[in-house]
Symmetry: D2
Subunit: 290 residues, 4 copies
């Protein structure tokens, strides 16, 4: 089917390519003219037959908001917009309401897969009204990996990004679990072949997983990770997961600890621990004057 | 090769069976005469040709200690004992020293795989001197799953159980990660198809794993887990992992949080929270009398 | 000086009383006519001489928003509103902007002290422009406890509630610290006189504090807290503290753990632990079918 | 009464001095001849009249073990040894059993107060048989602060050090609570006068405490703690608290988080976070090659 793709960066560009390989007619727009099929978002809209389908694949926040606003001006009743970026689920509900005022449908879609997605497919979690989702199914079928899994219509608008957010929260906890296990093994002098342990665990154990496979690849390149700093960014979904947990009164100790470990990794000199040091000095300092 | 197997319960019995299927000559002893090939540990030892190999597969703690003590009396210099149970790595070092005094070798072996192991093989992590491990390789080769992975000689005596302990610690963190994500999804009314999310994640996502597969099986049986209590036992390795972390000054926030979540799940009325309630009453209670 | 007090509940009523004892002219309004000096907010405003000062002491959220909106209609340029409730600091900034459009000043003030405050004074943390704060100083001087401490002008609008929020976050961590220590002492059979320990700690130790004093009072009433359930509410500030920490990328493991302990105390059957139980069953369940 | 004091360092020396000021006859021994009243432990014992009382105030672990062993050789039935150092409560039970074999009594005593103790008294938590504790009461009365509190006979042998251990665990949690609150206030640009907030909290708030007083002293010296590194040691009791919690299946999230924050503060480059970085690189790295 025909689809407009807004944002042709690493993710959007590969998704457009996978859709074309699947026989779809993709019209792409990007601010970078060298990537774009059209000169403007307006031209993109004019190139699509009604009812139109436009997939937005731009950074979350202001760029997505701007694109939704612009599409609200350009599209007509009966069209559908998909936000496939990493938007906060609360924003989805706002975007859907804005577009609904003009008769334009809205579907949010969390996308996982990164650069493996072009060849292996993208795991998709979407939220929205059933008729909108059904109209998009040919697109979803082409983007998703082969087989039964890799796609879910999780619920109403916002459900796709909510599900993706929680997926990433789980990912934080799993990554930190492997990380802590590795640190303990390296800290002990009992186990000599830490890399060998992780490698051996890929078969027959409870913890076998794609993350374990990636970890073994990393250790094969650099057995003691000497070339890396213990410094980790976080992408937003982890924070939203913790904030959603607080809003829902759900205790989330593991996922939160994983997020805080990332925050901590970016502190050269943790301010809180200056206070602990200061208090310890107060005990000791008075020792010398009493 | 010939091997004595002490303990023919669910694990030991299946392992003996897998070894026999693999062509080994297994003499089994169990306190339950209906399972046992011989009448006593003494008879088991007498049935083996020197140098003997005896695999101990009994509960950790006192039963393992007793078996090691008894084997120390019965075996001869040049024999080798394998402890395949869930012993604490610190005990391994003691057991090895005890047996070394009689010229008997010792290898510790962490075993993962549960009831899947009979058919699919057991993931093995062993610790001990290279000559002892090498003598046991035909046994390890038969027990382990097919393929490159599933076995590691992790280091000296204790390394096998240390590695298995950390494996289980990682498992605690991963299980809790999935658990927290599920709770948050169920708590929100945005996502309607929580089971569908987990199911969809089996392909194309970062968190795909055997635990995720098991989780989907569980949700297929009981979508909202209504038939279960939120109550989880712990097996010892999680505790040892946390204690080892404290001994090694390694922060382990995620794995520890997963362990504490299990402790907490077994408390009807958490005592600490009585104190919090009491303190809050003190604020309010004095309100009414002031 | 003259001040209008909106909200004459437990907190507002006592504060009005303390102000009157201090010689101020307080005109109080409450929705409950039996508490109120005037029939309406409009009458309250008409009774005050310009430039007016109105202290709002109603529940955070909608009631405070409504009162601010109404005062915005009724007050004149040069008047000042103080929000002494438990508002979120983000709302303060919105309220100040709304009122500023009409030339009305705004000061936010976090108030601590509960029912002890009437006699002992209220600890006050305020935020706002210096001229507004200075005009209010006679009020603050009367409300605060005697002595140097108990009052801070913490910063611009929002700083008062931000400081109060963090105060409460610290309080959560301290309460949980005592709670955990108590639970461990009660769980061990080594220490026989747990109450005696807490009581003894009131002098000469590092942890002596008002919370410890309250705890001893609670244990004096009910040594093993048998009359209480391990169930604790939370008031909002703890949640905002954690969410502010996430927004500021500050790791807050202790305060967050204290908040999550409260969430957990309200769950009869923690959903996350159903997942852990389900996964453990999957291991074992397959054991019976293999 | 007469007492021998073994170990005349900062703690033992001041305690001996406080006892002398209180009218007791103290014979002190230290390995440093310039501090010692006698040439040897043997001479100390010979200088005391039976039944003797000897207070051991040396570092925990090997030095305490050696002193207990030596006293076991030198003392007679009816004498009593007090261990006032920071011993692990498990060691107390062993020491008591060793001495009991010779008819020598044993009391363990946790001591808090640091350098303030000489003038203000030491908070004391002791464990042991009632007759031994009663014989020591004149000593305890002199060492403890004035007033009702500051002393507890917590239970049988080990209870004193157990109680002191938990006291320190609570202290860890409280210090970290203040530390996290301070970090969040400093991270935000809403609050301008962070020191002023802490200072103001000393009166009228829920969190007023000796630790808060110390914190204000520290901030008065160095408002933003710029002269300090965010690096904190831990003394052993925090670790034992966590390990005791695991042994007793008591969830201790706050105290454990405080301990782990100290561990983390001593890592320049947290190894676990290298794994997280490595896994993130694996996602991205493959992006560039696909």
């Amino acid at each position: 089917m025909q689809i407009g793709m807004v944002g042709l960066g690493k993710m959007g560009g590969n998704m457009a390519e996978r859709l074309r390989r699947g026989g779809h007619d993709v019209v792409g727009f990007d601010r970078d003219p060298s990537l774009s099929d059209v000169a403007s978002l307006k031209e993109l809209v004019s190139r699509l037959q009604t009812p139109r389908t436009v997939w937005v694949m731009v950074p979350a926040g202001a760029p997505t908001q701007q694109t939704i606003d612009d599409l609200g001006e350009l599209l007509s009743a009966g069209d559908v917009v998909v936000d496939g970026g990493n938007s906060h689920y609360v924003d989805d509900q706002k975007h859907a309401a804005e577009l609904a005022g003009k008769g334009v449908g809205f579907v949010d879609c969390g996308v996982s897969g990164g650069v493996w997605g072009l060849d292996n497919g993208y795991a998709l979690m979407c939220g929205g009204d059933r008729p909108h989702v059904e109209r998009l199914m040919p697109i979803f079928e082409t983007l998703k990996p082969e087989g039964e899994d890799g796609f879910v219509h999780a619920g109403d608008v916002g459900a796709g990004h909510f599900a993706k957010m929680v997926h990433n929260g789980i990912e934080y906890g799993m990554m930190q679990s492997f990380a802590e296990g590795w640190e303990l093994l390296e800290a002990s002098d009992v186990v000599k072949d830490v890399r060998g342990c992780f490698s051996s665990w890929r078969t027959g154990t409870v913890i076998r997983s794609w993350l374990l496979d990636l970890m073994v690849r990393a250790l094969d390149d650099d057995e003691h990770l000497e070339g890396l700093r213990g410094y980790a960014q976080d992408s937003g979904e982890g924070r939203w997961t913790v904030q959603a947990a607080v809003d829902h009164e759900v205790p989330l100790p593991v996922i939160t600890a994983a997020l805080f470990a990332r925050f901590g990794s970016r502190q050269d000199d943790p301010p809180a621990m200056k206070v602990v040091a200061a208090l310890r000095n107060q005990f000791g300092g008075h020792a010398t004057t009493s």
